[in-house]
Amino acid sequence: MSARRHLAGLAVVLAALVIVALFLKRSDVYLLTLWAVYLMATMGLNLTAGYAGQMSLGQAAFFGIGAYIAALLLKASWPFLAVLPVAAIVCFVVGIVVGFPALRVQHHYLAFATLGFNVLAYLAMRNEEAITGGTFGISGIPRPTLFGVDLGGHLAYWYWTLGSLVVLGGLLWWLLRSPWGRAFTALRDNPIRAESLGINITAYTLLAFAIGAACAGIAGVYYASLVEFIEPGPFHFSTSLMMLLAVIVGGSGRFYGPALGTAIVILLPEFLRGSSVPWLKFMQVWYLAFFGIAVIVLMIWLPGGLLSLRERLDRKGGPQ
């Protein structure tokens, strides 16, 4: 796909997202915004797990850390644009710390180590009541006003989130096209060979974790402000699992994989719920079972995720 066709396609999709929102109901716009927020976190996870190959099951913890920072600072009347870098930097630093086990262990060990971090973070959110409000959470988180524009309305907040998503996506795109992106892929494909070629695998592993974590932290800020209330529940490790599955189902290590995967995880169940067609109603109860089967089937026949489908078909039909 040429760069021009790529840009044109992206522009069409973005224009559609901008225009369609005008005709959608309030609740649908809210769901779209929720999708965009989760997408920020899953794009970060795609960098950590998809491009750099570091299997992380702790993304929801960073998401939560960002959300709690936002809740506390926004309630203390900090401007939104000042909260963003704070959340990103804190998560970046914590990400480096959490990345350390990755230097010693790989794959499933790493998955469990990051999952362990997630459980600890969750326990801290529930028990450190003085800071986090414990299980009651923090309510009354304001939505921002930027440059005199009130972003409290559902449409305004959607456009603000979509714009931010595009900026974040652009930054990630640029990062992945830089020599860093190539080094991340080399780290995933073959760390031992990478090291023999002078690639500092320690630095890149930690960076992969930290950048992914920073994205989740930013997503957390948008989440807190969107829902206007947070409690520990959404930052349980099961959210990390869903985020990882979203990346993998969409296509890990593919730039648009998380967008598709997150839509399947966040939007599809709500679509089924809202439907009045009987068999779709049946689906909503069994949704997770079908999703689970889809994951298994994908792993067996299409481990590259849904976005690798065309490539796979090309290769089957091609001369090779």
Binding site: M55, F100, P101, R104, V105, H107, H108, Y109, A111, F112, A113, L115, G116, F117, V119, L120, L123, R126, N127, I192, L241, L244, L245, I248, V285, W286, Y287, L288, A289, F291, G292, I293, A294, V295, I296, M299, I300, P303
Partner: protein, 291 residues
């Protein structure tokens, strides 16, 4: 002092349960390099199958035997054939993800197909307890402990003393070499899957009276089982037992002497310490990083 011993005793009883579930993890890993994220659900499903059998009028022992057969067929052979065999050559991660999918399917099937509510489950041991030097011990604790210890020892004996067991171990250590010695590697791997299914059923029989039969009962047991296995040493059968009991006891001590709020974090802390300090586990032997 009595309190302390009481905590140790009940912690040991809880820990052996973690160990039983963890044992299956290590077996599958050793024999076939399978990491099963659905191990907890492999315990949950037999609990419900036993319930169904009993609702149909079967006594507990018959329900257990029928469920063993079911588990060997579905969670043993079926799991291997449908999920593991097609995926095992693609490395660890796709299989891990697929077993996550299996866990979701099993949970949803039980929840949507049967009930989201906890169901009670009869104990295999007589109710009641006895006191020994001021410490209360229930018959169920003693029974669980003895049965779990017996299973671990029996498994150890089977693996080291019998022909089939030694063949299984040979396959676990070096599949190719075992094959050249004329061992039917495929059959040995199948045996480990069958043993894992039976272990899961036994675990279900032992824990469901306290855990209660519920679709999500596998979540915590699966996690603890994995931590137990890693802490003890992933490539050692005894490791899971040590890891499980260590977690059980420490959880109780932390819950009592420090704060119950962080009790659930104990296994994780121990796990993080172990993988940073001794990644092969307390009893495990180091595996060279492959070039």
């Amino acid at each position: 002092m009595n309190d302390f011993i009481q905590l140790i005793v009940s912690g040991t009883a809880t820990g052996t349960i973690y160990a039983l579930a963890g044992l299956g993890f290590t077996l599958l890993w050793q024999a076939s390099g399978t990491i099963n994220f659905a191990q907890g659900e492999f315990v949950m499903l037999p609990a419900f199958i036993m319930l169904f059998c009993m609702m149909a009028g079967a006594p507990l022992w018959l329900a257990f035997l029928l469920t063993c057969a079911f588990a060997m067929l579905v969670l043993g052979a079926g799991f291997k054939k449908v999920i593991v065999d097609p995926l095992i050559h693609h490395g660890v991660i796709p299989l891990v993800i697929a077993t996550l999918g299996v866990a979701m399917v099993l949970k949803t099937v039980v929840r949507a197909g049967y009930s989201a509510e906890a169901q009670q489950f009869p104990s295999s041991f007589p109710a009641g307890q006895f006191s020994l030097a001021g410490i209360t011990i229930s018959y169920a604790d003693v029974g669980t402990l003895i049965l779990a210890a017996a299973i671990v020892i029996a498994l150890q004996v089977f693996v080291t003393r019998t022909m089939t067991g030694r063949a299984m171990q040979a396959v676990a250590q070096n599949t190719d070499a075992a094959r050249t010695l004329g061992i039917d590697a495929k059959r040995m791997v199948l045996y480990t899957f069958l043993i894992n299914a039976i272990l899961a059923t036994v675990t279900a029989l032992l824990i469901t009276p306290t855990y209660l039969a519920k679709f999500d009962m596998g979540e915590s047991i699966g996690l603890k089982a994995f931590f137990a296995a890693i802490i003890g040493g992933f490539n050692q059968t005894r490791g899971a037992l040590l890891g499980g009991v260590l977690i059980g006891i420490l959880e109780n001590l932390v819950g009592f002497y420090w704060s119950p709020a962080y009790k659930e974090g104990v296994a994780l802390m121990l796990f993080l310490v172990v993988i940073l300090w001794r990644p092969e586990g307390l009893l495990g032997t180091a595996e060279e990083r492959k070039v």
